[in-house]
Structures are given as C-alpha cells and as structure tokens.
C-alpha cells in the first residue's frame, strides 16, 4: 500500500534521545520518516497510539484494530474516498519548529518556552543557546503546571548530555520529572521517563536491553550502527526485577582508614542523581519507601585527565542502616583509549528492606522526608603537568521523598549538595 502510493506512514517518538530511536529504525529497517517529540508537544499520554488520517487531513480511525483490519482499515478507510471537509473550527495553536525557533520581539513566558523547545528540538544538546532555552523552560515551570515541569526536565537532561552541562543538571532533571508526575500521576510517558533511569524494581520492562543485539545485527548486515551520543546507563539496560538487591560476598573497602588524600572537587567534578521509584509519586506513601537508583558521574576538570594505564575509579557506598544493595563497592568503566577527558558514569540500585504489610499505625510519626546516602570514590587522575595522583572524593546524595511528609520535591541546585551551581562553561 505504501509502495503503491496509497498510504504514507509517519512515526513520532517521545524519547529523550533521538539517536536511540534512529538505531531502532536502522535495526528494524523502518523506511518511513520518524519525527522527534521529546517535550510531548503532541500531548500524547501513552504509546503506542495509531491514527488513520484521510487525504484531507481529517482523522478517520482512532487506533485501527488488527482484529477488524480488512473491514475497518482496508475497506472502510483505504479503499474509500473522503469528501473534503467544510470549514472547521480552529484547533490548538500550531507547533511548527522552524517558525517557533525564529520568534522574536517581546514574548510572553509561554512563547519563550515554545521557542526554547523548538530550538532545542532543532539543535539538540549542542545548542549554543541552551542555557537560555533551559532558563526559559524553567521560567515556564514556575507556573506549577505539570507539563511545564516535564519540559523543563527534558531541557535539563539535554544540557546534561551536552558540552554545557552543569553539576546540578542530572538531579534537577529527575526532580522536574517527579514534579510533573506528582501533578499528573496517570501520565504514562512522564512515568516512563523517570523509570528509564530508575530502579529495576520499578521498571515495567527493560528499556534499552535491545541495543546490543541491534548493533550486532546491523554490523552483521555490513552496515555501521548508528552511534549513540549519550552513553547508555546500566539502569537503562537493566531488566525488570522483582528481587530486592541481596548483599553478595564480602568486599574490601578501597580506603577503610581514610588515608587517601582528598580531592575537594578541584581535579574531578562529581555529579550525583537519585531516581526514586515512581510509586513514591503518590498521595500518601509511608514505609517501605521502595527502591532507588543512584547515579554518579565523574568529570575531569579542565586540565585534568584520566590515566590510560591505571585501574578505573571505584565507588564505595556506606548508606547506613535500612538500605540493601548488592555490593557497596562498584567499579566504573575504564575510560578507554581516547577517553581521557570523558565523563565516567555508574549507577546502582538500593532498596529499603521489605517489611510485613499490615494496617498503618496512625500514631506512628511520619517517615523522614529526606535521607542521606554517604560514600566516597577513589580514582587516579592526571594533573596538567602530566603527574598522576591517587585521590578520594566524598559522596553525599540526598534522597528527597515527595508526598505530604516531604512536601514539594527538593529544589534543584542547592549549593554543597549533589553537584555545583557553577555552569559547566565556567569550569573550562
């Protein structure tokens, strides 16, 4: 039907990263154009969603059913000629990226936000004006509207993935998405955006476990697989799990007596993000608090670099009583040849111990709204003069629980916690 020119197919993906959808398209041999809508301007709340549109641009079938394909789609839609509609009532304001990206003059907060989304969709994380666009979307999010929170989160994550990253972007993006989901808990796409980086215990399925197979099969065909710009985290490849992390064999702490010289962040910038399980986005959540995924990123400061002949960094976590994790010691990946300046990332799952469910105790005090996870990272890093040293940097990750006990999700960018306020540009 497509080859015969009777039908055109267009896909629209809601994902944060278009290159992953592009790899999927390459792997599956999809030949129709696929468009990118990371900000959810289409307003869709769940995927997949199919719409059959006639030759005049009028919707004729909502969600064509394979069960009645012949009758509904072939006979009732494809084989039929539809009359041109008469005058129709104007719909919502059009969203055209090229037009919106060029908006100028005095603009309202909403117009600035729409322009920002358009510019980011066209230029991606490398947008030269990304700081301004993030600012515009954060300004819109001050409205408190869930969709504006979501869009601010998308922009913050884009900046995290790009050269202008700030130390607080990782956590700020997650916090913004959580704020959105708290306002609209039935928004399936927003929930998935958090679950993508969240704990395996909260995943409905693995998000990107297909990537390795896709790359291998594309290579077998003699093609070069699409390069993923933003590396996949372990969380994004993790399979859905219903097993609580169980401590494995005893491991040795890399610096139990604290003898390694401290790096206060002058050589390597540490960024931390906590992705809670989305069940926390509920009206009244008491213990157990469930699982979370802790993300840690190490970025060499200007002039510093990773050595290519030393063991990669190691994270040691001592979360304290009540937390379960498979191992307190987690190794980062080696930077690899040519990766001396790249950011290294690791993520791990923690969960609170399971407790017997029973009627809630109305006299019990509300659980704390925040908890602090502590640990440290040890690493070899080379100074600008070529000298390589071994250093330790302390880790503090504040877990903020939304809900009545915790109030609003924590504000992003609080100094001294989980990264720094200074923009990535100032460090370079």
């Amino acid at each position: 039907m497509v080859a015969a020119g009777e039908l055109q197919v267009v896909g629209i993906v809601q994902e944060q990263h278009p290159d992953r959808a592009l790899l999927f398209q390459q792997w599956k041999g999809l030949e129709f154009p696929i468009l990118w809508d990371p900000f959810g301007v289409c307003g869709v709340e769940a995927v997949p969603d199919l719409t059959a549109v006639d030759e005049h641009g009028v919707v004729r079938i909502d969600r064509p059913s394979p069960k009645v394909f012949q009758e509904q789609f072939v006979e009732g839609f494809l084989s039929r000629s539809f009359e041109a509609p008469g005058e129709m009532a104007p719909g919502p304001a059009p969203f055209r990226v090229n037009e919106l990206a060029r908006l100028g003059g005095e603009l309202s907060v909403e117009q600035r936000a729409r322009r920002a989304m358009a510019r980011l969709m066209l230029a991606g994380p490398e947008a030269r004006t990304i700081d301004g666009e993030v600012g515009a979307l954060l300004a819109a999010a001050s409205s408190g509207r869930p969709r504006d929170h979501f869009r601010a989160g998308v922009a913050l994550r884009m900046r995290f993935d790009g050269p202008q990253v700030r130390g607080t972007d990782l956590q700020a993006s997650i916090d913004a998405w959580f704020a959105a989901l708290m306002g609209s808990p039935n928004q399936y796409i927003w929930r998935r955006r958090i679950q993508q980086w969240g704990p395996a215990l909260d995943k409905p399925y693995a998000f990107y476990d297909w990537v390795a197979d896709a790359r291998a099969q594309v290579q077998e065909r003699g093609d070069r697989p699409v390069t993923l710009r933003a590396p996949l985290s372990r969380a994004e490849r993790a399979l859905r799990s219903r097993s609580v992390p169980v401590p494995g064999r005893e491991v040795v702490a890399p610096d139990p007596e604290g003898r390694v010289t401290r790096d206060p962040g002058k050589l390597v910038r540490m960024e931390v993000g906590v992705a809670l399980n989305t069940a926390a986005a509920g009206p009244r959540i008491r213990i157990p608090r469930g699982a979370l995924r802790l993300h840690v990123v190490l970025r060499p400061r200007p002039g510093a670099s990773w050595p290519t002949d030393a063991a990669p960094p190691v994270l040691w976590l001592d979360p304290g009583e009540g937390w379960l994790l498979s191992s307190p010691r987690v190794g980062f990946e080696s930077p690899g040849e040519g990766g001396e300046r790249r950011a290294l990332m690791v993520d791990l799952e923690l969960s609170t111990p399971l407790i017997a469910l029973g009627p809630p105790d109305p006299n019990a005090p509300p659980p704390p709204s925040t908890q602090t996870l502590r640990g440290y990272v040890v690493y070899s890093v080379c100074l600008p003069d070529g000298t390589c040293v071994f250093r330790r940097q302390e880790l503090t990750a504040v877990v903020r629980y939304p809900g009545p006990a915790g109030g609003e999700p924590g504000e992003p960018g609080e100094p001294g916690e989980q990264g720094e306020e200074s923009p990535g540009g100032d460090d370079r």
Partner: protein, 71 residues
Amino acid sequence: MFLRVACLLILGLLLPTPSTAEGPQELTPASWNTVGERVPAVELPRIDGRGTVDLGTLRGRKLLLIHFASW
C-alpha cells in the same frame, strides 16, 4: 443613548484583550483521536537529521500516524 453605546464600544476596543493564563491551547490525546477533526498542525524534526516534516502539508494521500517509542 446612542452616544453612550458608542463610547462603551470604543472603550471596549481600546481595552487590552485579557490574555489566557494558560497560554496557547495545548494539544491533548483527543487532538489525535477525535474522528472527524483535522489532524493537528505540527511540524517536528526528523530523527535522521533530514529536516522536518509538517503534518499539515501531508495532503493528497492517506496517512497512518504512529506515536511510539523504541523501548
């Protein structure tokens, strides 16, 4: 009477139009699945970097629109 009405009319024209607190009307799922309604005027970039596609210009042939994700 006529003068009073005329003054009120002129005053109404001069007063600023109240802006919508919500801003431009946003698309919803109903924008895509209400039979008989025109598909929204949306232009989005292609993921392969080959420009953009404006759904409003896809006329003359039937269209199957698929909202999906690779996960």
